[in-house]
Symmetry: C2
Subunit: 180 residues, 2 copies
Amino acid sequence: MPYPAKTSREAILAAALTLLEGQDAPLTMRTLAATLGLQASSLYRHYADRETLEEAVAEEAARMLMSDITAASSGRPPHEALRVAGQQYLLFAHRHPRLYALIHQPRPPAAATPGTGKDLWNLLLGLIGAVTGRPDDTAAVVALWCFLHGYVGLESSGQFGLSGPGDAFERGLEALTRGL
Amino acid sequence: MPYPAKTSREAILAAALTLLEGQDAPLTMRTLAATLGLQASSLYRHYADRETLEEAVAEEAARMLMSDITAASSGRPPHEALRVAGQQYLLFAHRHPRLYALIHQPRPPAAATPGTGKDLWNLLLGLIGAVTGRPDDTAAVVALWCFLHGYVGLESSGQFGLSGPGDAFERGLEALTRGL
DNA sequence: GTCTATAGCAGGATAGAC
DNA sequence: GTCTATCCTGCTATAGAC
């Protein structure tokens, strides 16, 4: 009986985050355990299965994203805050592409973003409301989110090719904030 | 020696399309061969490997998408043509979610959409140019594409939840065509 | 709580007979 | 050109010893 346990829920979660911030290694029970100096089977004492673990990682990643956006946009005038929030969203996706993908991975309805999603949602609602003058304009938030998410997706799947996106990001963001 | 060959490149391609238009069955060499009444190993006479096959499918799917958009938008006044093109893009993604996903799957640089992508690109360039009055406004095309692609992605990953997207599609499309 | 060992599954791909 | 047979890899998850 090795007394101080070699790991814990938190340590596993942290290791999974680290693994997914790397470039290549897939998130499998084996590779994850290896980074902790463990055998894969040991992880099952802490998480029931791979999916449960993934949900925890996704939740934590969503928290990170929200924290980044909040920190960058708080205390700025409305229009600027919204622009900075958009840039920060993009930056997170660049820095942590696999965490970003995990956040947006389809999940069974029960686990559909319990609280974290709502927080980010309310933050954006406030930012947009301050710019357009319409509070609680959910359609505007969705439209903006679509644009950002699509930009990330097309970029990461290499659709922009050699010519790159040009100034589409600024143009689109500007057009949306003006047009909504 | 069964003389008339049981299959061909074209038949395999068609079967793969059909398979991916269904809901569940994954595109594996085994399942694909099964729909043709063949063994998996037989497919390798016609396609070098799975990836080569997938590229062919993706190309064909892109052709279908372009054909849909062209048919729906041609002969309409500019503003309406653009709106209809957007709707058709969304409709294709709804009807053929797995083909849509395949089109946007990251591929090694060599195979990056040889000709089909360009055609769709030029079509959209024309549509947008007719609305905004600026020909060859690539950034505008990219921005619109981001919005559409993002909408599809968020919808299919269930991010809109129970409340749904509201009228975000129309709002966003309108805001973009106006603001660009 | 961790270990070894193993069951079980799924998929890609090849060898060689016909 | 298709078949059977087989190999290989990589993964999830469990059983039971310690």
